[in-house]
């Protein structure tokens, strides 16, 4: 099998994982117009929880999800109320949120260093039996396939929530026009808190699998995940959760191929694409207007 085709297939799995990693960030921006710079740190915390569960109870990551999702959903809901409503009363919530959540990410990184140390940790591939599977003639780690499958399932759930439930309808209304949604009786706090909780839970679930498919877990890797997530949601479209998938596909393929043909430069790729997209089409590949004039 040629390298080119190999990269094509693994990039699909990559794209699925990174959609989930970035989706929550976009949900929060779309609904609350705030930027969660601590997104990557929540992902890292999810990852640590999964590693701890695997170490002490031998939990398979898919099983760990049953613990990770409710825990981080609760953390998200608890964090929403002291932080976000107060933030939105300030003069410029969008800019203030940058600084506020940078503070949160600092505190979380410091906490992670205290709790888990600075060394790199990973889940073992042999949590899945067999370690490798063969699909359509390609042999790949089972962990990767499971990661992609879980990501697709999570995407489907988010889609179901947004487009098939009453709360989802209110969420979309809030994303399109905040004032009119408010005037029509959308309960901003309830809808936003749920979206925030979902966002944190999604980040943490991506974190459960992150040490398999992307980087090993360490306190400082959170920033990298935050930046990659940003790149992805801007390439797709800021404030449009499902466009995240498009962004993730573009990112995954660009990353996958530079990794093969110019490995030295592969880590720059997300940022170059991000800047190029912002300059050429700031609304993202699928977005509406973003430029002011």
């Amino acid at each position: 099998m040629s390298l080119f085709v190999d990269a094509f297939v693994t990039s699909i799995l990559y794209a699925a994982f990174f959609s989930i990693a970035a989706l929550g960030l976009n949900l929060v921006f779309g609904v609350m117009r705030i930027v969660n710079l601590a997104h990557g740190e929540f992902l890292v915390m999810g990852s640590y929880l999964a590693i701890a569960l695997a170490d002490s109870y031998g939990f398979n990551p898919v099983v760990s999800l049953a613990v990770v999702v409710p825990v981080f959903l609760a953390i998200g809901l608890l964090l929403y109320f002291p932080l976000v409503p107060r933030l939105q009363k300030s003069g410029d919530p969008e800019m203030s949120s940058f600084i506020l959540f940078f503070g949160v990410s600092y505190a979380m990184e410091g906490l992670a260093v205290q709790l888990f140390g600075v060394s790199y940790q990973s889940l073992q591939y042999n949590l899945f039996k067999p370690i490798h599977v063969e699909i359509l003639g390609y042999v790949m780690p089972t962990a990767w396939v499971v990661t992609a499958a879980v990501s697709v399932a999570a995407l489907a759930l988010v889609y179901f929530y947004l487009y098939r439930t009453g709360l989802g309808l209110q969420t979309r209304a809030l994303m399109i026009n905040r004032d009119e949604a408010m005037a029509n009786g959308v309960n901003i706090n309830a809808v936003s808190a749920i979206a925030f909780g979902f966002s944190i839970a999604l980040a943490a679930s991506a974190g459960v699998f992150s040490s398999f498919i992307s980087y090993p877990t360490s306190p400082s890797i959170g920033d990298t995940f935050t930046l990659i997530s940003f790149a992805i949601i801007i390439i797709g479209a800021l404030g449009n959760p499902l466009a995240t998938v498009v962004g993730a596909v573009v990112f995954a393929y660009a990353y996958g191929y530079t990794e093969i043909y110019a490995a030295n430069w592969s880590s720059i790729v997300p940022f170059i694409i991000l800047i190029a997209v912002i300059l050429a089409r700031p609304q993202g590949l699928l977005g509406r207007k973003a430029r002011e004039f």
Binding site: V35, G103, S105, L111, V113, I234, S267, I275, A290
Partner: protein, 323 residues
């Protein structure tokens, strides 16, 4: 370009405030190293004051927050270092050229100024990361030293550098004062408050923001050059340090009071001291403490301490009310 905008409406009214800025800073920088004999801390303070003033021009006066704004600092440092080590330039022209390089880079990013807030902040962050990865790339080792750092110790002169940094730090505070009193500064504030009204009045908000952006990046570039010169040798991580030369500066400005003349200077002096003490005594939980401090700052004193200090000073000077 009409330079009349940059002139003062009433230069005489500036003197009291200018002396209130210069005198305390001069005292700190001249007596400081005698009281606490560690010049490098005061050097860093001078660099931070320059950066805080530079950021204040963009963030305080135009409302745009360039999150990865340390990229100009780093490019200034690298420009200076490369010119000295590869082309054997004198220090002064090398620092100015480094700062011009930073300003040139900012010109490259002016299209970003058309974007609304979050896009701008994020893309400047991406630019920061991209430039870090370029400068530290192993394939550019012959030019930038790559990950192994760059050295230009032949021109090292700590005392001269300290003096230059102090003078320029005070000068940058004066620049902010001049801007705040000029038509230019008033236009910037008007743009921050209501861009559309300003555009309707026939003022190109984009052009004014570009000027502010250029001035700011130039000052950051100078700060970078001076910092690099003081080190004589640095790794890419030392100047491309998002925590120190972007975030910390944002915190200083925010704590002092963005969009004010005294805020960034006062905020930098106080918080830098706190930061140094914290990092000496609680190095383990520094990140946690500083993170929580940021959260509290944004939620409870979003306008910084400058308005509070001003109110306190008014109460002291005019106990019976002003008029």
């Amino acid at each position: 370009m009409n330079f009349r905008h940059f002139f003062l409406k009433d230069p005489k009214r500036m003197w009291p405030e200018a002396s209130m800025l210069v005198a305390p800073l001069a005292v700190i920088f001249i007596l400081g190293p005698d009281i606490y004999p560690n010049q490098s801390i005061f050097m860093e303070l001078a660099v931070f004051i320059m950066l805080a003033d530079a950021l204040n021009i963009v963030y305080g006066y135009t409302g745009y927050l360039p999150f990865g704004f340390g990229v100009f600092f780093a490019v200034g440092a690298y420009g200076t270092a490369i010119l000295i080590s590869h082309a054997s330039w004198q220090v002064a022209p090398a620092i100015i050229a480094g700062a011009c390089l930073a300003a040139l880079l900012s010109l490259l990013f002016t299209p970003l100024l058309r974007l609304s807030g979050a896009y701008f902040a994020i893309s400047s962050l991406a630019a920061f990361e991209a430039f870090y990865l370029i400068f530290s790339n192993t394939q550019l080792t012959s030019l930038t030293g790559g990950p192994y750092g760059i050295s230009f110790t032949q021109v090292y002169n700590a005392n001269l550098d300290y003096t230059a940094a102090v003078v320029l730090a005070i000068a940058s505070a004066i620049v902010v004062l001049v801007i705040s009193k000029s038509t230019f500064g008033i236009a910037l504030q008007a743009i921050r408050e209501d861009r559309f009204a300003v555009e309707l009045a026939g003022v190109s908000s984009l052009r004014y923001r570009t000027y502010a952006w250029l001035i700011s990046s130039f000052i950051s570039g100078i700060a970078g050059g001076l910092f690099g010169w003081y080190q004589g040798f640095f790794y890419p991580e030392a100047v491309f340090n998002l925590t120190e030369f972007s975030v910390l500066v944002i915190v200083f400005v925010l704590f002092g009071g963005k969009g004010t003349v005294f805020g960034p200077v006062v905020g930098t002096v106080i918080l830098f001291l706190v930061y140094e003490i914290l990092s000496l005594t609680f190095s383990n939980s520094l990140l946690i403490i500083f993170g929580l401090l940021l959260v509290v700052l944004v939620l409870f004193i979003p306008n910084g301490i400058e308005p509070l200090l001003r109110k306190a000073a008014d109460l002291l000077l005019y106990p019976d009310g002003r008029d």
